[in-house]
C-alpha cells in the first residue's frame, strides 16, 4: 500500500475515533507494524496525533528450545540413548549432538544417569528405571501459542535453561493531536526565490527551525594566534610613536650581537651551549665592521674609556667575527644606534618584533627560536624614571596596569630592571620583561653624543600569548605541531583595545 494512502486511512480512522491498537491497524492493512509506528511518530512530530503505549508480553520458545519441540527434552533423549550396559560419554555425544551435551548435564542433575568407573573406561549408566518427559508438553504448548494453560512454577526452570524466554513489545492507542487534520499539509523547509516570485510563501507552512542547534561554521581561512598578538603589539608601538627596525637578518656576527653591546668575550652567553654558531657562513670578515668603531669597541673591552675601566682582558677580533644566529634583536638595536650616531643624532624611538635563537633543548616552555619584542627610546637626558613611566604606558595598553621593578643584571644595561606585573588572569605577580638603560661603554664607542641616554625593554611574544589564550605547551603555538583546530577556534586579540 502506498505510504500516502496508509497515512490517509490512518488519519481517517483516528478522525473517527476508532484507532484503539496500532497492531490491529497494521494487520488490517497488511503492513509491517514498524511502518505504522514510523508514520505515527512523524504525525506526532507534527502534533497531529497523540500516542499512548499499550504494553504486551508473551512467552516464546527460544531457538535453543525449538530443537526439542515435537521431539523430546534433551535429558530424555539422553536417558533413552543409554543402554543397559552403559555408554561412553564420547559415544553419547556423537550420537545425540547438541542434545547430548545439554541433556547429559540435565540428566545428571536429575540423577537419571550416573558415571560408572568400575569397568576401566568411565561409562554413562542409567540410575532409574524410567523417566517422564515434563518439558516436552510445555515446549509444545508454547510453540502452539497455548500460553494460558501453563503456570509459573513450570515455566521458571525452562526460562533459566534459556529454552523459553519472555518477549515484550508495545503497540499504540492513537488519538487526535492539537493540530489534527484528515490531510497533512507538507511544510516547506526554507523560503525560496520561487516562493517569492510566485507569492506561494503566503500560503506555505514552514517547518519550524531547531533553534537549539549551532549554525554551520563559515568557510574561509584563519590568521595564526601568535601573529594576531604580534599585530596588536605592532599597533601599540606605532601608536606610541615607535618606528620599526629592520630585523630580517637572522644570521649575525658576534660583533654586533655581543661585542658592540659590551658583552665580554668570555661571557657564558657566548658559549656554544647557549648560542647557535654557524659553520657556514662561519665568520663575518672584520673588514665588514667599521674599522674605527671596531677599534673603539676593542679598546673599551680591554682598557675601558668613556669613564669606564673596561674588563681588562685580551679582546680578540676572531671571536667577534664568528657568525651566529642572533640571540636577541638587540643585535639590530645596536646596528640602528650606531647608524643613528653616524647619520647625526636625532631623538628616536624604535621597536621590533622578530625571531631570536637559543641553542636550548625544547620542551613545554622552551623553544630554540622564539619572538622577542623590543622597544628603544634614545634622547638627551632620558632617566630611569622615564623608563618606568614609558613601561607603565606600554603595559597599560596590554591591560597590565600594576607593575613593579626588580634590580637585575645584564651586561649591556645599567641600571637593569626586571619588570613584574600583577596578572588579574593568573592572580599573581609574574615576570613580564626586562629593561634598562644601555651602558655608556656601549653607546659612546658608537659615537652617540655625551648626554644621550637610551632606555630599552624587551619581552617574549610567546609567553603573554600563552597566558592570554591559555595555551600550556609552547609547541602548540609555534612550530609545525600547532593544532589547526586551535587556530580555527582562536578569538580576536583584544590587546590594546
Amino acid at each position: 500500500m502506498a505510504a500516502l494512502q496508509l497515512e490517509t486511512d490512518l488519519l481517517a480512522q483516528v478522525g473517527a475515533g476508532q484507532l484503539a491498537d496500532s497492531a490491529e491497524f497494521a494487520e488490517a492493512h497488511n503492513v509491517d507494524h514498524q511502518a505504522v509506528v514510523g508514520l505515527l511518530k512523524s504525525l506526532v512530530m507534527a502534533d497531529m496525533v497523540v500516542m499512548e503505549a499499550i504494553e504486551h508480553s508473551r512467552l516464546t520458545v527460544t531457538p535453543a528450545g525449538q530443537l526439542y519441540v515435537g521431539v523430546a527434552a534433551p535429558e530424555v533423549q539422553v536417558f533413552n540413548a543409554v543402554p543397559a550396559e552403559g555408554i561412553t560419554l564420547a559415544d553419547l555425544k556423537t550420537q545425540l549432538g547438541v542434545a547430548g551435551d545439554v541433556g547429559f548435564k540435565q540428566a545428571m542433575q536429575n540423577k537419571w544417569v550416573g558415571i560408572d568407573k568400575s569397568g576401566g573406561e568411565p561409562k554413562v549408566v542409567r540410575k532409574v528405571e524410567s523417566v517422564q518427559d515434563t518439558v516436552l508438553p510445555i515446549l509444545n504448548a508454547l510453540a502452539a501459542g497455548q500460553e494460558g494453560s501453563l503456570n509459573e512454577a513450570e515455566l521458571t526452570p525452562l526460562m533459566r535453561r534459556k529454552l523459553v524466554a519472555k518477549e515484550a513489545w508495545k503497540t499504540w492507542k492513537v488519538g487526535k493531536g492539537p493540530c489534527f487534520a484528515l490531510q497533512r499539509k507538507k511544510a516547506a523547509t526554507e523560503l525560496t526565490t520561487d516562493m517569492l516570485q510566485s507569492g506561494a510563501w503566503r500560503d506555505t507552512t514552514f517547518k519550524p527551525y531547531n533553534f537549539d542547534a549551532l549554525g554551520l561554521p563559515p568557510s574561509g581561512g584563519h590568521l595564526h594566534p601568535l601573529l594576531k598578538v604580534r599585530t596588536q603589539f605592532r599597533k601599540i608601538f606605532t601608536q606610541m610613536g615607535f618606528e620599526e627596525m629592520p630585523t630580517n637578518n637572522y644570521v649575525e656576527s658576534s660583533f654586533w650581537n655581543f661585542d658592540a653591546l659590551f658583552q665580554p668575550q668570555q661571557h657564558p652567553a657566548r658559549d656554544a651551549h647557549d648560542t647557535f654558531f654557524l659553520t657556514k657562513p662561519a665568520a663575518t670578515p672584520a673588514s665588514n665592521f667599521p674599522a674605527d668603531y671596531l677599534e673603539r669597541v676593542k679598546q673599551t673591552h680591554q682598557h675601558g674609556g668613556f669613564g669606564s675601566i673596561g674588563y681588562g682582558y685580551d679582546w680578540k677580533v676572531a671571536e667577534a667575527e664568528k657568525n651566529l644566529l642572533r640571540t636577541h634583536t638587540t643585535a639590530v638595536s645596536s646596528r640602528m644606534l650606531y647608524r643613528l650616531a653616524q647619520e647625526g643624532f636625532h631623538p628616536a624611538k624604535y621597536f621590533s618584533i622578530d625571531r631570536v635563537f637559543r641553542n636550548e633543548a625544547i620542551d613545554r616552555t622552551h623553544l630554540a627560536e622564539f619572538h622577542q619584542i623590543e622597544g628603544v627610546v634614545c634622547d638627551y637626558g632620558l632617566t630611569l624614571s622615564d623608563l618606568i613611566g614609558t613601561l607603565q604606558q606600554f603595559f597599560d595598553r596590554l591591560g597590565l596596569k600594576k607593575l613593579r621593578f626588580k634590580p637585575a643584571f645584564n651586561p649591556y644595561t645599567e641600571p637593569s630592571m626586571e619588570i613584574f606585573s600583577y596578572s588579574e588572569q593568573l592572580e599573581k605577580w609574574i615576570e613580564v620583561g626586562n629593561s634598562g638603560m644601555f651602558r655608556p661603554e656601549m653607546l659612546r664607542p658608537m659615537g652617540l653624543p655625551e648626554g644621550v641616554n637610551v632606555i630599552a625593554w624587551g619581552l617574549g611574544l610567546e609567553r603573554p600569548t600563552m597566558i592570554l589564550y591559555q595555551v600550556d605547551n609552547i609547541r602548540d603555538l609555534f612550530g609545525h605541531k600547532v593544532s589547526l583546530s586551535m587556530v580555527r577556534k582562536n578569538a580576536i586579540c583584544r590587546l590594546g583595545l
Binding site: 610613536g241 620599526e244 685580551d314 631623538p347 627560536e369 624614571s385 613593579r404 645599567e414
Partner: protein, 622 residues
C-alpha cells in the same frame, strides 16, 4: 644566573632575624636577588634518586634542614656563598658597615714567596696567592668554603679555563713555592682522593676514563707540551692546575692556615677570584678581615704582592646620578644610599660629586653608571616617580612588514589558514626529503645544535608547511595553509654571508590534486598586489605594467625535483623568476609522511614591496 644553596637557619642567624618566606622574598626583590626554590638536602637527594634508575642512597642520613636556593646576578661573585649573601643584605639593611679588608703587617716576619718559572707562559701564565691565618672552620663554614670555589669555577673562572683556585693546608707544606711548567711525565704525585702516585699524563688519562667531574677539565692542558705545577720548597706538589691538587696539602676541618693560589690565563679575573675568596673567608681568621700577603716573583724577576686589596676611588658627579635616575638628591644623601650597597662614599666639599671607594668585593663596578644604579637600587626602583619622556617621534612600520601584514589577511580571506613554522630544520627536511641535492651554495649550517632537528636554516618554507600537514592529519580535507616568513640564503651580498628573504608558501592538501586552486591563489595574490598578468590584453592594465616595469606570468617547466613532472610552473615577475607552484612529488609526500595529495605555491615577496605608485621600497636594509 648562578643559583646558590644556603642553609636557611644559618642565613637567618647571620642576618640576625627570622623571616617568613614572603618577607624574605620581598627583601630579595628589593635588592635584586631571587628566592628560586625552598628545599632540603633530603628533598634534593630524593629528586636525584627519582631521576636515577639504579643506586640506593641513604635518605635517612640526609638533613631535613631547609635550604634556600637563591638566584644571584651573574656579576655579583661576592654573593656566591652564604657569607657574601648575608654580608650584602646586612649592609643593605644597615645592620653592618662594609668591612675594611687589609693586609697583615709583615714587618719582622717572613713573607711567603711564589716564584713563577718562564715555561708557564706556554700554558697558563699567571698565578696570584694569599694566606688566611688562624682560620676557624666548622663543617658549615668548611663546606661553604669549598662550595664558593666550585661556584667561582663554574662562573667567573669559565669552568677553570680562565682561573683555577687551589687551597692548601699551609702547615703541611713549606714556602717558598714555585709555579712551573714541566713535561707531564716529570710531574709525579699522589692526587687528592687517590692513594697511589701517578704521573700527570697517566693521571689525565685516568680522569678521562673514570671521572665524570674532573674529565671536563682535562682538555684545558692535555695537548700542551708542558703542564703547570706548583711545588713547595721540598718539591712536594701542591697542585696540577687547573685539574687537581695533591693529596699531601689537602685542607681539612682542622686546618688553621690556608694557602690560596689562583692560576690563570686572565690575570684580571685571577685577582677578582682571589679577592673574592679572601674577602669572604677572612672573616673567620684569628684577626677578622686581615689577610697575609704573598710575594709573586714573575719570570722577569718583578715582584708583585697579592692580594691587592686597595679600594678604587671614583669621583661621580651628583648631576650625572640625578639626571640619569630622575632624582634631585644632595651629595650626602647619595653617599648615605651608597653605603647600603657596600660602596663607602663621601660628598665632595662643594657637594658637586661623591667620592666613592669601590671595595674588592665590587668588581662589577666599572663605570659611574654602576654607582648610579646602586643609588637607584638603594633609593628603591619602586619609589621613583614615573615620568614620560618628551621625545616626539612618528610611528612607522617597515614597508616589507606592513605589506606582509596586509597580504596575510588577504590569504586568510582567500580560505587559507595561517601557520608559523621554525626557521631551523634538519638537513634532510631541507634537501633529501624534497628530492634536492645540497650543492653547498644555499643553506646556512649550524655547528653545534643541542637538538639534532636543527642542522640548517631553511631555504624554503615548504618543509614547514608539509610538516604541519603531517602533524594535523585529523583535520577534515581539504586543508589549505599558508605562511609568510623568512628563509635564509647564503649570499655574497651581505657581510655576514647570508640574508633573509621574505616568502609566501601555500599548500592545499586533498584527496585529488587541484592545481587550479593553488594557481587561483597565485592569481589572487597578484591581483591584491596590483601586479597584472603579463599577457592580459586588457588595456587598463597596461599603465600598471608600465609603472612596475612589467607584469607576472607563469611558465610550465620541470626544474624543481620537489614537484611532480608536468605539474609544475615557475612564476616570473618582470621576467625574473620569483617563485613556483605545482603538485608536490609523491616521493616528497612519502618522505613527509603524507597520504594525500598536496598542491603548493612558494613565492618571494620582496620584489613586490613597492608603494602605491609602484616605486620599489628597500627590503634589505642592514
Amino acid at each position: 644566573m648562578p643559583v646558590v644553596g644556603v642553609n636557611r637557619d644559618k642565613l637567618f642567624e647571620a642576618l640576625g632575624q627570622k623571616y617568613t618566606e614572603e618577607e624574605f622574598e620581598e627583601l630579595c626583590f628589593e635588592y635584586g636577588i631571587e628566592l628560586d626554590d625552598v628545599t632540603s638536602e633530603k628533598e634534593m637527594l630524593r629528586k636525584e634518586l627519582a631521576t636515577r634508575t639504579t643506586g640506593a642512597a641513604d635518605l635517612g642520613a640526609a638533613s631535613e634542614e631547609v635550604i634556600y636556593k637563591i638566584d644571584i646576578p651573574a656579576n655579583r661573585y661576592d654573593m656566591l656563598c652564604l657569607e657574601g649573601i648575608a654580608r650584602s643584605l646586612n649592609i643593605f639593611r644597615q645592620r653592618e658597615t662594609p668591612p675594611l679588608y687589609r693586609l697583615a703587617d709583615m714587618a719582622g716576619k717572613q713573607i711567603v714567596r711564589m716564584t713563577v718559572k718562564p715555561e708557564t707562559a706556554l700554558v697558563r701564565p699567571f698565578v696570584v696567592c694569599a694566606v688566611l691565618r688562624g682560620i676557624d672552620f666548622d663543617s658549615v663554614r668548611y663546606n661553604s668554603f669549598i662550595d664558593l670555589q666550585d661556584k667561582l669555577h663554574q662562573n667567573l673562572c669559565r669552568q677553570r679555563t680562565l682561573v683555577a683556585v687551589g687551597t692548601h693546608d699551609l702547615a703541611k707544606i713549606r714556602a717558598p713555592f714555585t709555579y712551573e711548567a714541566l713535561p707531564p711525565e716529570d710531574i709525579r704525585f699522589v692526587p687528592l682522593k687517590q692513594t697511589r702516585e701517578f704521573n700527570a699524563r697517566e693521571l689525565l688519562q685516568h680522569y678521562l676514563a673514570n671521572d665524570q667531574k674532573l674529565k671536563k677539565f682535562v682538555p684545558i692542558i692535555q695537548n700542551s707540551l708542558v703542564y703547570p705545577a706548583i711545588y713547595d720548597a721540598d718539591r712536594t706538589l701542591l697542585s696540577l692546575p687547573p685539574v687537581i691538587n695533591g693529596a699531601h696539602s689537602a685542607i681539612s676541618l682542622d686546618t688553621r692556615d690556608v694557602f690560596i693560589e689562583c692560576t690563570a690565563t686572565d690575570l684580571t679575573k685571577a685577582k677578582i677570584v682571589l679577592n673574592t675568596v679572601v674577602a669572604m673567608f677572612s672573616q673567620y681568621c684569628s684577626t677578622p678581615f686581615e689577610i697575609e700577603p704573598v710575594e709573586v716573583v714573575d719570570a722577569l724577576g718583578d715582584t708583585q704582592v697579592y692580594p691587592q686589596l686597595d679600594t678604587r676611588q671614583m669621583d661621580v658627579a651628583v648631576p650625572y646620578i640625578n639626571s640619569c635616575i630622575g632624582l634631585d638628591l644632595q651629595a650626602d644623601k647619595i653617599a648615605q644610599l651608597l653605603s647600603k650597597m657596600q660602596l663607602s662614599a663621601a660628598a665632595a666639599p662643594d657637594g658637586s660629586s661623591v667620592v666613592v671607594q669601590v671595595p674588592i668585593t665590587r668588581s662589577d663596578v666599572l663605570h659611574a653608571c654602576d654607582v648610579m644604579e646602586d643609588v637607584a637600587i638603594a633609593y628603591g626602583y619602586n619609589n621613583l616617580v614615573k615620568t614620560v619622556p618628551s621625545t616626539v617621534t612618528a610611528g612607522k612600520e617597515l614597508p616589507l612588514n606592513q605589506m606582509c601584514e596586509l597580504l596575510r589577511g588577504e590569504c586568510a580571506m582567500a580560505g587559507f589558514t595561517e601557520v608559523l613554522t621554525w626557521a631551523l630544520c634538519s638537513h634532510a627536511e631541507n634537501f633529501s626529503k624534497l628530492r634536492q641535492q645540497d650543492d653547498g651554495t644555499t643553506a646556512a649550517c649550524i655547528g653545534n645544535p643541542a637538538t639534532a632537528e636543527f642542522e640548517v636554516c631553511r631555504t624554503s618554507l615548504l618543509p614547514g608547511a608539509l610538516k604541519t600537514l603531517a602533524a594535523n592529519k585529523d583535520i577534515p580535507l581539504p586543508v589549505k595553509l599558508f605562511e609568510v616568513s623568512d628563509v635564509i640564503l647564503l649570499s655574497s651580498q651581505k657581510g655576514c654571508g647570508a640574508e633573509n628573504r621574505r616568502r609566501l608558501v601555500a599548500v592545499l592538501c586533498d584527496r585529488a590534486a587541484s592545481f587550479e586552486v593553488i594557481h587561483g591563489l597565485l592569481n589572487r595574490v597578484m591581483e591584491v598586489l596590483q601586479v597584472p598578468y603579463a599577457a592580459d590584453p586588457d588595456p587598463t592594465l597596461q599603465r600598471q605594467r608600465q609603472l612596475l616595469g612589467g607584469g607576472y606570468d607563469w611558465r610550465a617547466d620541470d626544474d624543481s625535483p620537489a614537484f611532480f613532472p608536468g605539474r609544475h610552473a615557475s612564476v616570473y615577475f618582470r621576467d625574473r623568476r620569483v617563485g613556483e607552484f605545482g603538485i608536490v612529488h609523491p616521493e616528497v609526500l612519502e618522505a613527509f609522511d603524507l597520504n594525500n595529495t598536496v598542491a603548493a605555491l612558494e613565492l618571494d615577496l620582496e620584489p613586490f614591496c613597492f608603494d602605491q605608485l609602484g616605486r620599489p621600497m628597500e627590503t634589505q636594509i642592514l
